[in-house]
C-alpha cells in the first residue's frame, strides 16, 4: 500500500491464519497486510471463502476453533491485539473496535430483550444503568427506530430492524473503527439500500473509520474511499474506489467487474470467471489465481507475485505489472 503520512489507526502486517480440519491445515489468510486510517472507509471485497471475514474476526481475536493465528501483527493505535491477554482484550473490544455480523438474527441473544443486550455492554464499560438506558434511547433514535421497541425481543423485530439494532449496538461505545462483515447480505435489496444510506449518514455524523467487508462490489463504490480485493487468502489489488472501477488491473478484479449486471449502466456482456476457488489445503503454486487467469504466463505458476505500487495509491500483486 502507499505510504501513509501519519500512522494508520489499524495496521495489519503479514497476518496469517490457519484452520485445522480433518483433511489438513487450511491456510485461510496468507500474509495479508492492510491499513485503515482514522475516519477512512476501506472496502474489502472477495468471494466467499477468500478469507475476508477471517481477517475481520482475527482483528478482534474472536475466531473460533479450529482457527489458529499463525503469524503477523495487528496494530491498533500502536497496540498489537495478537499480544493482548484476556483482560486487555476485554477492555479493547467494542470500545475501540466493534463489528456488525452478517446475520443480525444470529448475533442477538434470543432470550434477552434488545434493551438488556444494548445496556449490558455499556454498563460493563463504566456507565451507570441510567446513563446506559438513556444512551440506548439515543442510539435507537439515531438509527431510526422508536425507542419503545427497545423492550422487544429479537424475534419480534423485522429483518431490517434487527440489522439496525445490531448497528446501534456496534456504535454504543463510540468506537474508533467499525467493521461491517457482510452487513446487508441477508437482507432484501430495498432494505439493503436503506441501511447503507443510514450507515453513510452515521459515519459522516460520528466520523469513525469503517472496514466494509462484502462480496458485492457494487455496494463498495458508493460507500468506500479505498477498495481492497482478496482472492484465496491473499490481497491482490488495492486502489481508491473510482480508480478501481475505471481501471481494474488484476485479471481477477477485471473478472469481478464483468460478472455482475448493472441496472442503470450500459448494456454489457456478462462473463463469469471460469473454474472455482482453489483448495486452500494445497493451493496452486506461485500465483494462486493462475489456473483461472486468462492472462496467465509461465512465471505465474512458479513464483508468487509481490504487491507492487503501480501508481499513487494503486497497488496490485500480478506478474503482468
Amino acid at each position: 500500500m502507499s505510504q501513509m503520512p501519519e500512522a494508520p489507526l489499524l495496521d495489519v502486517r503479514g497476518l496469517r491464519v490457519d484452520y485445522l480440519t480433518a483433511n489438513g491445515r487450511v491456510r485461510a489468510v496468507n500474509g495479508v497486510s492492510l491499513a485503515v486510517k482514522e475516519g477512512e472507509v476501506v472496502g474489502l471485497a472477495g468471494e466467499s471463502g477468500s478469507g475476508k471475514s477471517t481477517i475481520a474476526h482475527a482483528i478482534l481475536r474472536i475466531l473460533r476453533p479450529p482457527a489458529l493465528i499463525t503469524g503477523g501483527e495487528v496494530l491498533f493505535a500502536g497496540q498489537d491485539t495478537l499480544k493482548m491477554d484476556d483482560a486487555q482484550l476485554e477492555a479493547f473490544r467494542w470500545s475501540r473496535v466493534s463489528i456488525v455480523f452478517q446475520s443480525a438474527m444470529n448475533s442477538l441473544n434470543p432470550v434477552l430483550s434488545v434493551r438488556e443486550q444494548l445496556v449490558d455492554v455499556m454498563q460493563n464499560h463504566g456507565l451507570t444503568k441510567e446513563q446506559a438506558n438513556r444512551r440506548a434511547g439515543e442510539l435507537f433514535q439515531l438509527i431510526g427506530i422508536e425507542p419503545r421497541r427497545l423492550d422487544s425481543y429479537p424475534h419480534e423485530l423485522s429483518g431490517g430492524m434487527r440489522q439496525r439494532t445490531v448497528i446501534a449496538m456496534a456504535l454504543a461505545l463510540n468506537p474508533d473503527l467499525l467493521i461491517l462483515d457482510e452487513p446487508t447480505t441477508a437482507l432484501d435489496v430495498v432494505v439493503q439500500k436503506d441501511i447503507l444510506l443510514q450507515m453513510a449518514r452515521l459515519r459522516e455524523a460520528l466520523g469513525l473509520a469503517v472496514l466494509f467487508i462484502t462480496h458485492d462490489l457494487s455496494l463498495l463504490v458508493e460507500f468506500s474511499g479505498r477498495i481492497l480485493i482478496m482472492y484465496a487468502g491473499e490481497l491482490v489489488e488495492g486502489a481508491p474506489a473510482r480508480t478501481l472501477f475505471d481501471q481494474p488491473l488484476h485479471p481477477y478484479t477485471v473478472g469481478l467487474m464483468n460478472s455482475f449486471p448493472s441496472i442503470s449502466g450500459e448494456k454489457r456482456r456478462l462473463t463469469g470467471i471460469p473454474g472455482s476457488p482453489p483448495d486452500l489445503i494445497s493451493p496452486p503454486t506461485g500465483c494462486r489465481f493462475h489456473p483461472r487467469c486468462p492472462k496467465a504466463m509461465a512465471v505465474c505458476s512458479q513464483a508468487a507475485p509481490e504487491m507492487k505500487i503501480v501508481s499513487p495509491e494503486h497497488s496490485v500483486a500480478c506478474h503482468l505489472y
Binding site: 470500545s95 463489528i99 441473544n109 460493563n124
Partner: protein, 325 residues
C-alpha cells in the same frame, strides 16, 4: 397459548389412557383378580356379600361401556373403592399421605439434582477439555451406572447400619407424631438425607451430561461470538448468554426424565421403607390389592403429569419465543 394447550391435551390423553388401562387390564387378563380376593376371603363372606363386593369393585354384569362410565365417575369423585389388603380401609385415605411423602422426596431430589447437575454441566462445558471436563462426566457416568436401589442399599448398609450416621427407615422418627414442630421437621429432614442423597447422586450425571451437550451446541452460536466481541466479562457470557439458552432444551427433557427418576425413587422408597406411593405400590402388588394398586398407579401418573405441566409453565416464562406462538 398454543404451547401450553398442546401439552395439556397430551396430558389429558395420557391420563385417559392410564385410566383405561386400569379399567381394561383386570378384565382382559386371565383369572379375574376379584376371584383372587374372594379366594382369600372365603369363609369370611356370605355369597351375597361376595356379590356386593364384586359390584363394589365394578365387576357387574352390565355391558362393558356401562362399567366403564361407572368406573370413570367413581374416579372423578376420588372414590377408589376399598383396599383389599387393608380391608375395609378406603384406598383414598391410604394414598393421600403416601402422595405427600413421595412428592416431598421427589421435589427435593429433582430440584437439587437438576440444579447441581446443570451448574456442573455449565462449568464443565465452558472449560472443555480441561481437568474438570475429563473427570466429572466419567465419574458421574460411573456412579450413574449403578441401579438406584443398589446405591440405596449400599448407603443404608454402610452409613446407616454400620456407621449409624443416619436413620435406617421411614420418613420420620417412630417416636414422634406428625405436626408443625421443629422436632418433627428436623426428623423428616434427617430421614430424607439418605434416600434423597442416593437418588441425587445417581441422577446428577444425566443432567450434567445433558447440560454439557446443550452448552456445547450453544457455545457454537454466533451470539456467543458477539458477546465475546462486546468485551463482556466471562461470567456474563457463560451464564447470561450461554446458560440461559442452553437451559431451555433441558427443560423439555425434564418432563420425560421425571418419569424415569420416579421409577428409581419407587425402588429407593422400598429399600428405606419410606412410606411413599412406590412403597405402597409394591406392597399392594404383593398382596394382590388391585384397587389400591390401580389408584397408586393413577396417582403416580397424575403427579408426573403435574410436574410436567409445572415445567411447561416455567418454560414459557424463560423462552420469549414461545410466548408469541
Amino acid at each position: 397459548m398454543k404451547y401450553i394447550l398442546r401439552h395439556l391435551a397430551l396430558y389429558a390423553l395420557a391420563l385417559w389412557v392410564s385410566l383405561t388401562i386400569n379399567f381394561l387390564l383386570p378384565r382382559l387378563m386371565p383369572g379375574s383378580p376379584v376371584s383372587a380376593l374372594i379366594g382369600r376371603m372365603r369363609g369370611k363372606f356370605t355369597p351375597q356379600q361376595i356379590e356386593a363386593l364384586k359390584k363394589a369393585y365394578g365387576f357387574t354384569d352390565a355391558p362393558l361401556i356401562q362399567q366403564y362410565f361407572d368406573y370413570l365417575s367413581h374416579v372423578i369423585r376420588g372414590d377408589f373403592g376399598l383396599s383389599i389388603s387393608a380391608y375395609p380401609a378406603r384406598v383414598s385415605s391410604i394414598i393421600s399421605t403416601a402422595l405427600l411423602w413421595t412428592v416431598l422426596l421427589g421435589a427435593v431430589t429433582l430440584l437439587l439434582a437438576f440444579l447441581l447437575g446443570s451448574f456442573l454441566g455449565v462449568l464443565v462445558a465452558w472449560r472443555r477439555g480441561g481437568m474438570l471436563d475429563g473427570i466429572l462426566p466419567s465419574l458421574f457416568n460411573f456412579i450413574g451406572s449403578f441401579p438406584y436401589f443398589f446405591l440405596a442399599m449400599l448407603a443404608l448398609f454402610f452409613l446407616a447400619f454400620l456407621l449409624k450416621w443416619f436413620p435406617m427407615s421411614h420418613a420420620y422418627s417412630d417416636d414422634l407424631s406428625p405436626g408443625w414442630t421443629w422436632d418433627f421437621a428436623g426428623s423428616v429432614g434427617t430421614h430424607l438425607i439418605l434416600p434423597a442423597g442416593t437418588i441425587i447422586l445417581v441422577s446428577i450425571g444425566g443432567w450434567l451430561i445433558s447440560m454439557r451437550s446443550t452448552m456445547i451446541a450453544v457455545l457454537a452460536e454466533d451470539y456467543i461470538v458477539m458477546a465475546e466481541a462486546k468485551g463482556l466479562p466471562e461470567r456474563i457470557v457463560m451464564f447470561r448468554y450461554a446458560m440461559r439458552n442452553a437451559m431451555l432444551p433441558n427443560f423439555t427433557q425434564f418432563g420425560m426424565s421425571v418419569g424415569f427418576i420416579l421409577g428409581g425413587q419407587i425402588l429407593t422408597e422400598i429399600v428405606f421403607s419410606y412410606p411413599g406411593l412406590g412403597f405402597y405400590l409394591v406392597r399392594a402388588v404383593t398382596a394382590h390389592d388391585y384397587p389400591l394398586m390401580q389408584a397408586l398407579f393413577l396417582m403416580i401418573t397424575l403427579a408426573i403429569l403435574m410436574a410436567n405441566f409445572a415445567v411447561d409453565l416455567l418454560y414459557v416464562r424463560l423462552d420469549p419465543r414461545v410466548r408469541t406462538e
